[in-house]
């Protein structure tokens, strides 16, 4: 369901590309994390200034509005890599082999299609706020301290482009698994398959018996 799934690795070009992109994604994730952290520091500064010096932070809301896209969007590909984005795996959980890879492939193809349109749309959103002829190149500004908004808007198509690269890797990974009928393809998040679950359950049963033996019959 939710939560990360394992991504297998080996020495193939595909896997190396996967890990290469992962480095970029981790960096973006860390930047997002630091942005969250600075949200906290910003509040401390704002409250501290207000309480002690009667000098609240000018543009506090503007700063938050500029930080939020970093926090909310930058790591979108990082989460796609290991399948953190939630889904209903009622169906895929019960699929094996080629049938599973087919559904996974359709899913990532649809997401890529969506992303291409959203890169277009979010780029246009950025462009409307960007004007080479204006001071700070700004044609859209925050309300209180008139910071240019275009950098925050530019971040969206950039993050989505990284996601599109990630999706290309996953499309290739799933397509390869589909064509070759692979059991354990690299570079794509694995569904925790029935085998793993059965193993876990078997282990659990064993323990239960052990425990019963230890406790004796009631």
């Amino acid at each position: 369901m939710a939560g990360a799934s394992p991504v297998l690795e080996d020495d193939s070009v595909l896997s190396r590309l996967d890990r290469g992109l992962l480095r970029v994604e981790r960096l973006m994730g860390l930047v997002a994390g630091l942005a969250i952290f600075s949200l906290m520091l910003l509040a401390v500064r704002s409250v501290g200034g207000r309480v002690t010096l009667n000098a609240p932070l000018m543009g506090y809301v503007d700063f938050i509005e500029q930080l939020m896209p970093l926090i909310a969007i930058l790591a979108v590909s990082f989460a796609q890599r290991d399948g953190t984005h939630i889904r209903m795996d009622l169906l895929v959980e019960n699929l094996r082999g080629r049938a599973l890879w087919l559904f996974e492939l359709i899913s990532v193809l649809l997401i890529l299609m969506l992303m291409l349109f959203l890169i277009w749309g979010s780029w246009a959103h950025f462009q409307r706020s960007f004007d080479l002829g204006a001071p700070w190149w700004s044609r859209d500004s925050t309300t209180d301290i008139a910071m240019p908004i275009w950098p925050a808007k530019l971040l969206v198509p950039v993050a989505f482009s990284v996601l599109a690269l990630r999706l290309l890797i996953q499309i290739y990974g799933f397509a390869r698994a589909l064509v070759l009928g692979l059991e354990k393809p690299v570079a794509v998040p694995m569904v925790l398959d029935a085998a793993a679950q059965a193993a876990a359950e078997a282990k659990a049963l064993e323990e239960e018996e052990e425990q019963e033996r230890a406790n004796g019959p009631d």
Partner: protein, 466 residues
């Protein structure tokens, strides 16, 4: 096709994509994009010549949403709440809390389980996310329960259910999301969660005591703590209480009429205090980095659902589906209370298959206006209303009910996020085990929800004071 028809087709398509296992956030965004395309194209009579125009407008309209919807000060509460949870874990606060609860409450029948419930309730007051709470206590409380011979499934069920308290007891990410979707006061909603959350914890606790008295093998009481030991356990747990009190005082200053800050600031100050404690406990950069990465990943997961679903909601706005649904609901010749109960039952069914945040985001834009219309509108007075409460109060009451339903869904099969998380943390537990163990708590939740419907004052008393 008229807009309503387009709305129904696109919604059907969305369900198919979700069922076939597409990531919910992207499925919703794609449905919204296609829906916008159809709406715009329909306005040019589906003329093939105007398809290019329609797709351009749809892409650009959808492309606005990710930036413009997440750049919001009230949504900044969500990452802060998630960060607090992770930092509190590194600061060792959760363990201390559990230890104190154990020494004070474990003498009861099923005592360790009761302690777990109340420790999760305490932790809920600093944690905004149910899933994080369940994950943390799966690590801390389950081993202790197993050590003294608790039924494994039951122990897991207690933790999965206890985790849900985090979303009722403020701070709560999901209450913030509700407030944002329905444009209601975040502060009042958070306040409204207190008593229902405590009420839930009491119901869980009584249920455990009852079960332990009937089935003797479920979990023995733990006795023998001296009063000295009990009081000795308090100081390490005190910091968490201090954080709770600071956040609460911050937002609902009891000493004067003006609060010291906003919920956003209160959350951030709480995070900062916990951060300082974690530093004091010797947290290293590598641990902070891990916490930040985890926080970032969970945050982006939630926000992707938010903007994805809001693209779909933007399409609903153009199709005017909420208006149509609201008209339909108010035209039904059933009692409003019956309709409300049916809506909540529909949530229970839907929640079996969806995660809480996605479910709220997808349904509330349509359901909330209908419920408000059912009560008599946003501005209705208590006297003229169907449920005997003003429009604002109805928004709060329905919010708590819906969030409680959403929390209920976190522990129901087949997609109960908390149960998956508990099973994920513990190698020795399968998801099926956790679902079996959590089943008694369905009864408790049904009882709690019935209580909140029958006695709205449980929800509304505190916010009506504010």
């Amino acid at each position: 096709m008229d807009p309503i028809e387009i709305g129904l087709w696109v919604t059907g398509g969305l369900l198919v994509m979700v069922l076939m296992g597409m990531r919910v956030a992207f499925a919703a965004a794609l449905a919204g994009l296609v829906g916008l395309l159809l709406i715009f194209w329909s306005r040019r009579g589906f003329d093939p010549e105007h398809f290019g125009w329609a797709i351009t407008v749809a892409a650009k309209t959808a492309g606005q949403v990710p930036h413009s919807k997440v750049a919001s000060q009230s949504l900044s509460l969500i990452p802060t709440f998630i960060l607090i949870g992770y930092l509190a874990y590194y600061a060792g606060l959760t363990k201390a809390l559990f230890e104190a609860a154990k020494r004070w409450l474990a003498w009861l029948p099923g005592g360790l389980a009761v302690s777990t419930v109340f420790a999760t309730a305490g932790f809920a007051a600093v944690s905004g996310a149910s899933v994080a709470t369940a994950a943390v206590f799966a690590r801390i409380a389950i081993p202790e329960m197993l050590k003294i011979g608790y039924d494994k499934r039951f122990a897991a069920g207690v933790v999965a259910a206890g985790g849900t308290l985090a979303s009722l007891i403020p701070p709560s990410a999901i209450l913030v999301i509700y407030a944002i979707i329905v444009e209601q006061d975040v502060g009042k909603l958070l306040l409204a969660g207190f008593i229902p959350g405590a009420f839930s914890a009491l119901v869980y606790g009584s249920l455990i005591v009852g079960i332990a008295m009937i089935f003797k093998n479920v979990g023995p009481p733990v006795t023998g703590f001296t009063w000295g030991q009990r009081f000795a356990a308090l100081p390490p747990a005190l910091p968490i209480l201090a954080v709770v009190v600071i956040i609460i005082f911050f937002v609902y200053n009891p000493f004067g009429e003006k609060s010291w800050g906003t919920p956003t600031e209160g959350g951030a100050i709480g995070a900062f205090i916990v951060f300082c404690m974690a530093l004091y406990k010797g947290m290293r950069w590598s641990q902070l980095k891990a916490a930040l990465l985890e926080t970032a990943k969970l945050t982006v997961m939630i926000f992707t659902i938010i903007w994805g679903v809001l693209i779909y909601v933007r399409f609903l706005g153009f199709a005017d589906l909420p208006g149509a649904f609201s008209d339909w609901i108010t035209s039904l010749s059933m009692s409003p209370m019956l309709i409300l109960i049916m809506i909540l039952l529909a949530y229970a069914v839907l929640g079996m298959f969806m995660d809480a945040i996605g479910m709220l985001l997808l349904t509330l834009p349509v359901v909330y206006p209908a419920v408000m219309a059912l009560n008599g509108g946003e501005t209705v007075s208590a006297a003229d209303s169907a449920f005997g409460m003003s429009g604002t109060m109805c928004a709060i009451w329905f919010g708590i009910l819906v969030v409680k339903m959403a929390e209920f869904c976190l522990i129901t099969p087949p997609i109960g996020l908390n149960c998956f998380v508990v099973a994920g943390v513990r190698d020795d537990l399968s998801v099926q085990d956790v679902f079996k163990g959590v089943m008694p708590f369905f009864v408790a939740d049904a009882f709690t929800i019935a209580g909140l419907i029958a006695f709205p004052q449980i929800v509304l008393w505190l916010p009506s004071l504010a």
